[in-house]
């Protein structure tokens, strides 16, 4: 019994554990509200099918959020992920439309994403620009490029394109859609990279105290740069998978995605000042966000009201983070 209690305590101190509990509570609340408004019997929201669907919807955002977690742990940020995703979707569509080479369409998009990340990374780490302003600038460049590549229209990949390419976005393992598998693969790879490798641990030290990291002989520039490249590659993967799944790209459809992605990362417990957080936390953040937005949509909440609520949650999450940094306790510890 006491062992159980201790395990529970340990769980609660884990990164993002309180968010997980909050998420479960919210799922139950949604279920109750939906039970009240619907007349059919049985579960509505809490069905495995619905929850897996939510996870599937979150795949694109999640893949990028895991990459962004690395960047944010170093104390930097990437605001260009949304427009990068849009542009890479257009690039992928163009590849497929002009060559119908599945390998090029898939891996080429990832490579171009990595190059875009490298641009951000070099500007932030080697030219030493403020990451917020830099990526705001490159974001504008990517948006313009997306419009240029697509000529402002929806690009459609033919239905009979490379089967390899389509497989990457539509296959399924039983009830588990390949999008969820991608999400899990990226989470595991980046999670292990962050927690088990020298590179990952050095990212924490850079974010926690850049001066001390320099005094410890850590090559901060290189590490920060690599974290941006990884984020770019994640954008590339998300774009490729998205295209393989939908076969059409709208240059407008990913605008504002960076806010959702950052929200997921922050909700997952990554500190905006760096040095704290984990991929496991971000997973919770991604699921939490997915549950909320799916719940609101299923309740037919107006999209504008959803944005208001999401914005408020973002501000609240950031405030909590800052207050925690300052050592302000909202409630007393026992």
């Amino acid at each position: 019994m006491s062992k159980l209690k201790e395990g529970w305590k340990k769980f609660l101190t884990l990164n993002g554990a309180s968010m997980f509990v909050a998420m479960v509570v919210i799922i139950i609340l949604f279920e109750i509200v939906m039970q009240l408004t619907k007349t059919t019997s049985g579960l509505v929201f809490m069905t495995p099918g619905n929850l897996l669907g939510i996870l599937r919807q979150q795949a694109y955002i999640g893949i990028i959020a895991f990459g962004l977690t690395l960047v944010m742990i170093t104390g930097n940020i990437d605001l260009s992920v949304g427009s990068m995703l849009t542009m890479l979707c257009c690039v992928c569509a163009k590849f497929m439309m002009s060559t119908d080479n599945g390998f090029l369409g898939f891996f080429g998009t990832i490579a171009i994403g990595a190059v875009c990340g490298l641009l951000n990374g070099v500007l932030v780490s080697h030219v030493k620009l403020n990451s917020f302003i830099t990526t705001l600038g490159t974001s504008s460049i990517f948006t313009a490029l997306a419009l240029k590549i697509s000529a402002g229209t929806v690009l459609v990949i033919p239905n009979d394109c490379s089967p390899f390419f389509q497989f990457m976005g539509t296959a399924a393992l039983g009830p588990i859609h390949i999008l969820i598998i991608w999400l899990v693969i990226v989470a595991v790879v980046l999670g292990l990279l962050l927690s088990r490798t020298v590179f990952g641990q050095q990212l924490y030290s850079i974010g926690s105290n850049p001066v001390a990291a320099r005094f410890s002989g850590i090559k901060s520039k290189r590490n920060i740069c690599i974290s941006y490249v990884i984020t770019g590659a994640c954008c590339g993967l998300a774009a490729a998978v998205m295209m393989a799944n939908a076969l059409s790209s709208n240059p407008q459809n990913a605008s504002g995605k960076e806010m959702e992605i950052i929200l997921c990362v922050v909700l997952g417990g990554v500190s905006v000042t760096g040095g704290k957080g984990s991929v496991w936390g971000t997973i919770i953040g991604v699921m939490f966000y997915g549950v909320l937005s799916a719940g609101f949509t299923q309740l037919n909440l107006s999209i504008y009201l959803q944005w208001v609520i999401m914005g408020a949650i973002m501000v609240a999450a950031l405030s909590m983070d800052v207050l925690k940094e300052k050592g302000v306790r909202l409630w007393k510890k026992k």
């Binding site: 088990r196 490798t197 020298v198 924490y204 030290s205 001390a212 005094f215 002989g217 040095g275």
Partner: protein
């Protein structure tokens, strides 16, 4: 000096306690109008704390504070300024983008209704500048002024607030000789107007030249207050030191090996100049100098975090790449920095990660950390140098100062350094941990590590080192063997009064 005059400021038995340290204990101090009163003492003697109590930045825990004979309780620097106590700090607080007039009246601008009265502002500013004998326009941008002129603006700012007592903390540390003379003239002008000056400087000749009276404090206590006429530089130095060596040191005779570190003509303009020395395996060399003399900067340049323009550094005969800390670490240099919170530790991260940070590449395969090995290493060092913590996963920020310092030391011990530089290794830590750190340094020297100890405490240098190199204003002023050395000789050399007792290093 007629003692019937009412002192402008009188402090009686002021005591100030910080957690674990008694910074001031029953300190008394009086200041008469129009007097220049110098405050002398070693680094950490309590001068700054005393000033902070006077200006209101700190509140005394005991004792009484009188201004014009009336008891006061000053709870903020604003209140202090309102009562006429202003301080010109070592670090200037000039807004470089604003013009001189706005800098003079910052926070106190003349108003006409809700708007700034620019006419009055520039008129008044010109008046203050002429009082200070400065021939510059009040519309000059402050950032374009020399450091000396900026300092005058700070003094001018005190005048605009009707200061009656101006505290100057090391005012000449960044001034040229000509600027210093101008400053002295201005001090004379202020004195004539009845403004009292508290003058703090490590430069004893300035103290002797300027002041009417001198108070020496040591270990947070009054040692003596004397009229300058009765004082000599020698008597000041003796009073500033005046302590016997402790028995907490554990110095042993260790045979020296080959030369490990060789520094030749290291120069960084304006910071240090033409520094040459070497350190042999098993040898412990102390660097002594006053704060700001350039000791830490030399170490930072050797380690590669700062640049240098001339000279060379070699480890075991191999030249070391400049400005590259990771190359320095690969070559075997460990560096426990002066400010462990800023430069040494990641307070938000675990003890384990902090300790093994430098070692990580070595205990990993293809970039994947061998976590078992990491934990073993952590356990080993926590026991070996007795870091008191419930767990390796504890955040470093939660440890006491002494234990934090041990984490930093452990970090560098793990890499088996050839040369270990420790900068102010015992600052802000308790006596027990101090002794442990000293015996650790001896242990390292025994293993053949070359050690450099940078310290502002003479006892620490004399108690731990084989040799001491003194630095004054960026230059090497002496290189003494420690055996039989008097603390006074070292302090005199660090103050730039060495009778150049050059011993030609240790090339025997």
């Amino acid at each position: 000096m007629t003692e019937e005059r009412v002192p402008l400021i009188e402090l009686k038995n002021i005591t100030k306690v910080f957690p674990g340290v008694k910074a001031l204990s029953e300190v008394c101090f009086t200041l008469f109008p129009g007097e220049v009163h110098s405050l002398c003492g070693e680094n950490g003697a309590g001068k700054s704390t005393l000033i902070k109590v006077m200006t209101g930045a700190h509140q005394a825990d005991g004792g009484e504070y009188f201004i014009d004979g009336k008891p006061v309780h000053i709870s903020s620097t604003q209140e202090g300024i309102a009562l006429g106590v202003s301080c010109v700090y070592q670090e200037l607080s000039i807004a470089p983008q604003l013009d001189v007039a706005k800098n003079l009246y910052i926070g106190n601008l003349p108003m006409k209704g809700k708007l700034i009265d620019h006419k009055k502002l520039y008129h008044d500013a010109a008046d203050i500048l002429s009082q200070l004998g400065m021939e510059i326009s009040p519309k000059t941008i402050a950032g374009d002024l020399s450091v000396g002129q900026q300092q005058m603006i700070e003094i001018g700012r005190a005048l605009t607030r009707n200061a009656r007592c101006i505290i100057m903390d090391e005012p000449t540390s960044s001034l040229s000789e000509a600027e210093t003379e101008t400053l002295f003239k201005i001090i004379g002008i202020l004195q004539e107007r009845g403004i009292a000056i508290i003058y703090i400087s490590h430069k004893l000749d300035e103290v002797m030249q300027l002041s009417d009276r001198i108070t020496v404090i040591r270990d947070g206590q009054n040692v003596i207050t004397m009229n300058t006429a009765d004082a000599t530089q020698e008597s000041l130095i003796t009073n500033m030191l005046g302590r016997a060596l402790d028995t907490m040191y554990d110095k042993q005779d260790i045979p020296f090996g080959d030369t490990v570190l060789e520094v030749k003509n290291l120069t960084s303009p304006g910071v240090f100049e033409d520094i040459s020395f070497d350190v042999r395996a098993g040898e412990t060399v102390g660097f002594f100098g006053l704060v700001g003399a350039g000791r830490s900067e030399i170490m930072r340049a050797i380690f590669g975090v700062d640049k240098y323009t001339e000279g060379s550094v070699a480890i075991c005969g191999k030249p070391l790449k400049p400005n590259n800390p990771s190359a320095a670490i690969d070559a075997g240099i460990g560096f426990c920095t002066e400010d462990r919170k800023k430069e040494g530790l990641m307070l938000k991260l675990s003890i384990l990660l902090n300790m093994t940070l430098v070692k990580l590449p070595e205990i990993s395969k293809l970039g994947v950390i061998d976590r078992k090995k990491q934990k073993q290493l952590g356990d080993h060092y926590v026991n070996a140098i007795s870091i008191k913590t419930p767990s390796l996963m504890q955040l470093v920020g939660n440890l006491s100062g002494g234990n934090q310092q041990k984490v930093v030391v452990a970090k560098w011990l793990m890499m088996d350094p050839k040369l270990l530089i420790v900068d102010e290794p015992t600052r802000g830590i308790d006596v027990g941990s101090k002794a442990e750190i000293y015996s650790l340094l001896t242990e390292l020297a025994k293993q053949g590590v070359a050690v450099i100890v940078v310290s502002s405490e003479i006892e620490e240098i004399l108690g731990t080192c084989d040799r001491v190199i003194t630095i004054c204003e960026g230059k090497k002023t002496a290189d003494y063997q420690v055996e039989g050395l008097e603390p006074e000789t070292v302090l005199a050399a660090a103050l730039g009064h060495a009778e150049y007792k050059w011993e030609g290093g240790d090339k025997a």
